[in-house]
Symmetry: D2
Amino acid sequence: MNNTLGRIIRVTLFGESHGASIGAVIDGLHAMIPVKEDEIASALMARRPVGAISTARREADRFQIVSGIFRGMTNGSPVCILIPNEDTRSEDYGENLTLLRPGHADFTSHIRNYGHEDFRGGGHFSGRLTAPLVAAGAVVRSALEAKGIKIGTHILEIAGVSDRAFESVPDVESVKYSSFPVLTEEAGEKMRAAIEAARADGDSVGGVLETAVTGVPAGVGDPWFGTVEGQLSYAAFSVPAVKGIEFGRGFALSHMRGSEANDPFTVADHRVRTATNNCGGVLGGLTTGSPIVFKTAVKPTPTISKEQKTVDISKGEDTVIFSRGRHDPCIVHRAAVVMSSLTALVVADMLAVKAAEQELAL
Amino acid sequence: MNNTLGRIIRVTLFGESHGASIGAVIDGLHAMIPVKEDEIASALMARRPVGAISTARREADRFQIVSGIFRGMTNGSPVCILIPNEDTRSEDYGENLTLLRPGHADFTSHIRNYGHEDFRGGGHFSGRLTAPLVAAGAVVRSALEAKGIKIGTHILEIAGVSDRAFESVPDVESVKYSSFPVLTEEAGEKMRAAIEAARADGDSVGGVLETAVTGVPAGVGDPWFGTVEGQLSYAAFSVPAVKGIEFGRGFALSHMRGSEANDPFTVADHRVRTATNNCGGVLGGLTTGSPIVFKTAVKPTPTISKEQKTVDISKGEDTVIFSRGRHDPCIVHRAAVVMSSLTALVVADMLAVKAAEQELAL
Amino acid sequence: MNNTLGRIIRVTLFGESHGASIGAVIDGLHAMIPVKEDEIASALMARRPVGAISTARREADRFQIVSGIFRGMTNGSPVCILIPNEDTRSEDYGENLTLLRPGHADFTSHIRNYGHEDFRGGGHFSGRLTAPLVAAGAVVRSALEAKGIKIGTHILEIAGVSDRAFESVPDVESVKYSSFPVLTEEAGEKMRAAIEAARADGDSVGGVLETAVTGVPAGVGDPWFGTVEGQLSYAAFSVPAVKGIEFGRGFALSHMRGSEANDPFTVADHRVRTATNNCGGVLGGLTTGSPIVFKTAVKPTPTISKEQKTVDISKGEDTVIFSRGRHDPCIVHRAAVVMSSLTALVVADMLAVKAAEQELAL
Amino acid sequence: MNNTLGRIIRVTLFGESHGASIGAVIDGLHAMIPVKEDEIASALMARRPVGAISTARREADRFQIVSGIFRGMTNGSPVCILIPNEDTRSEDYGENLTLLRPGHADFTSHIRNYGHEDFRGGGHFSGRLTAPLVAAGAVVRSALEAKGIKIGTHILEIAGVSDRAFESVPDVESVKYSSFPVLTEEAGEKMRAAIEAARADGDSVGGVLETAVTGVPAGVGDPWFGTVEGQLSYAAFSVPAVKGIEFGRGFALSHMRGSEANDPFTVADHRVRTATNNCGGVLGGLTTGSPIVFKTAVKPTPTISKEQKTVDISKGEDTVIFSRGRHDPCIVHRAAVVMSSLTALVVADMLAVKAAEQELAL
């Protein structure tokens, strides 16, 4: 299994849903990057389940910085962050995996691990593992902000209820570390109502996230195996439940003609820029200097209370399942900060790689 | 710049549109994998421009296997394939880059390379570089086929004209190495007409590809940084003009409820399988054993004959551009074999990594 | 900083000498590899300081398996092992780094980290970090033993006192997890006496380790960037104080003629083997099937009680230093198990990579 | 097989001794690095066999830059350099491998490749493959020189005849691109005589190289998996016939006491430096700012004219072999420029990685 992301700025993830702790190691960080614990706490808070629209499992997400920080700044050695699992109810689970939960990784994990996975709560496949990713992302986001690079993700749609998209100059600040990040509160209300309705039906809903990154200079990324789109996608699909991604106008571009789709170049403020941003800030795999903008499709939470057809893997027989354990009727809003965190890790790594290559040329 | 894809089965790409040759090195191939030159030739033929719907630049795509093949089989050392550039017209280009072509990498490449890129024909960013990728993919596709794994990509849509999607058991054979791969010839006719129409207008069109992989066993891939979706996406965005990707029902899943979206498990032929394949053959980042199915959005070819607003980078002034050089009004059909080739490389690498991890456990 | 070793079987190291804990994450382990905690404990015990010939810092090396183990076997997700720092005396260190300890990383670490390293006890550069490496190695060593591969390191020399070398069939079992691994007890006595003598003088001594690996089949490794020698060296120099490595007859080969140095091939027990093993079990970068044998030079422990010339980095002035803190007059014996552990990690990774490449050919 | 070296500055090697061409792809080079073809030619010339002390195979080493160079400078895309094989005599080889040459990779390559290697002239294992490495190194050496970093390797010993070692300020310039690099011509004469004598006996000799790198600032490298020693060793063992490496005083340190071995720190010219350089310019895995100095042991050329015991692999029987083909009685002098070239690639990569990590901190 590969749990490491990145070439220079690298995060390594570990832990299981019902183990002692989960965590991440962030390597490749130079010394003297300021790290604020309250930033990490805020980021984790944005990911936590809230109110009636979320799971009843309530983890405090107390985190412990095991290494790599000295007097409030990185010391150049790897940062390990541990988050204890506190609210596990392993007794909810039997001796062995029996019923495969549709839409979950129960089956694929079982096959992969020769039947010896930690199946409780999804084990290492659990969405809970996104907590250390968010913590890792928070460390890097602060460093990026110091360079004028900001990242934000908002809910563009839940259960068919849409909010407006980011403006051409995305107001990413407004949604930072929000636990239900929307651009218009009215849309948010309707979304929450739709989630509640699904929950009342014992069902779940999905949605679409929109992420933007501002302040990245032009010329970051690579044309072939290192496109901005490819690198961000690689990370984005690590967010459980994501099943699609598109940059700029994305799938809509496939219906356009070139004369509509192409972003004209123009000179403004002594810099070349694109007059529109249909390409989502990326041309030829490299940043244009305009905001990087992409959307991700989040499928409905697979755990539902309704009866579903499935297999009892211990018997090899068809049967039905009703959800067990505590679960979220929607995880779209919780996934937002995870998406921003992964984006931060990828952007930081791309900038590092660019600086590396410039070293010999300058 | 990073031009290497893969962890074990690795392809490294090199060359420029107007250089002497372009090529690829495929490393990590064990000895005794049969390599048929006519398979490579067929794959390259599928990518070549054809008829009135393509560019007038006609490259023979004669390829030379420089290393790694001995008596018709790999010999365990890296396979280098060279493809000479024969039909270049470098005289079409001036001394220096002047007009930035909208939708192309001219600007981003220029900034990245401190203005010292080989700008002729897009240089290293040219779609021409997909030829060695196709050759490399052909080598690996044969090896996968010997293991019962088949890959196919067809045109799902061009210029808004749709073909039917793959069946639940995708007939990938029927579209293999077709130069205009469609499932129903009628849709193909309409698509070609739409391309012709765009060309008559001096414009271009885009579309959507659908790719399927059959025969991959369950349990391949990783949950976090090695999801099947993430790895395929990373490679898919290397295909120039791709701006979106979705697995299974993809973005449509975001509107569904969990009870609709989840694929029920069932036992059939003594094996667990999903009754439907909304997830596109991937759950928790791992293969389910059902076909892997994904769609990619291809933007319209950026080069068009119409006047477009742009910048003369040598003067820093706004101006207009009319297309120069020979170009395709649509590259969707030509991208199909490229997508399959990259998919083959990724799938082969995932299988290799899985075998690697099993080594210590068995 | 890069703290990850390996392509498939990967270990990531974290922690500082005076932090809360140190640890390692081992990724790429398949499920169902048995892990015995007492094996890990034995390995750690072999590394611990003992008696009068070692530092007075006595760490219990209690370890906690945070993740990746389920019912006594790996579960396919990353194994994180934490080892708390219990016997730190941070009060031995002032507010800031002042005196650079000759032979240590104080200066190089200080420069690298812009002066913001955790300098207490060497921080992340401390030999203490070898404890999690030993724990990680123990996990992998058991798995290798199940495949018939055994690893052992013994002290060939300390302070000029030599023991005999491994026989052509190295008895690696006899030195496994010994805290002072020698092949003849008499030599061991003399070595200990030499260490005591150095200690009495307030000085320190170094030595040479010999490591052997048995049971690795022929054909493992790569000729260019993946030679068995190169991969083992890369890891061996991670053992602090190692300054040289040689395979087989090593530097002595440089004085021989080809007719002496070459190992003749012969058929024995229906297998091709070399009649001698001057090459240390490696030809052309690949294993011959004979034991892999190499020697490593360990410099004397840099910390000594004698007065030494150095610089006060806080003042930029020349001065003298007397050792501070607790220290070892010799670490050669303690390094033995570390060398075997790293060797195990490298060998496991090479086997995994070989299996990966075979996947497409079979 | 892995044929790629480096994380940012990466070289990928391909080709076989009797194939059409051999070559290398250098990736990760930024645009605007000047590349002089005569530098590459000079480097290749230094590696070529000369006079009576070398093989009769005389390759012109004409090279072709296939990509990545535009108007005398890198253009930011991968540089591919091809070197045709011109003086092959494949007819010297039979249909299949029969006699295993002792000391060569014939056996290990045969096993690894399931008997399907290109065995002619060693195939991909041939020392001939060092030619593209030298070409690649020449590109990078020029770039390093522009930053004040110089590299040189001289013959410290051949057949027991020693030359003096580098001074504390190594005169690396004097041996650059020499085809028989010695510091004192008298020693060189004796060495050549010893080579001649061995040749007259139908035998071969080995030796020791000493390499130095000047101008690398302090703080480059990593303590654990990225030590300067480990990275250079990884590359050094890629040079065929190298069987040992030591940094600074190396194995001699193992006999010293700490008080002798430690390099005192002192302030000179407002900079901290070590008064001696027993550590070879590396402490804690990082550069001290003093020259990096290491020695490598080169075994005698395995091909000799004397009768040797071996196995006929086609029959599985013991037999004897007399050398076939053309060969060198000594390759120590020819290996010098290869060692410098690989050193250049490693140093460039370490500098690039360091710059990458600094990006987020500044």
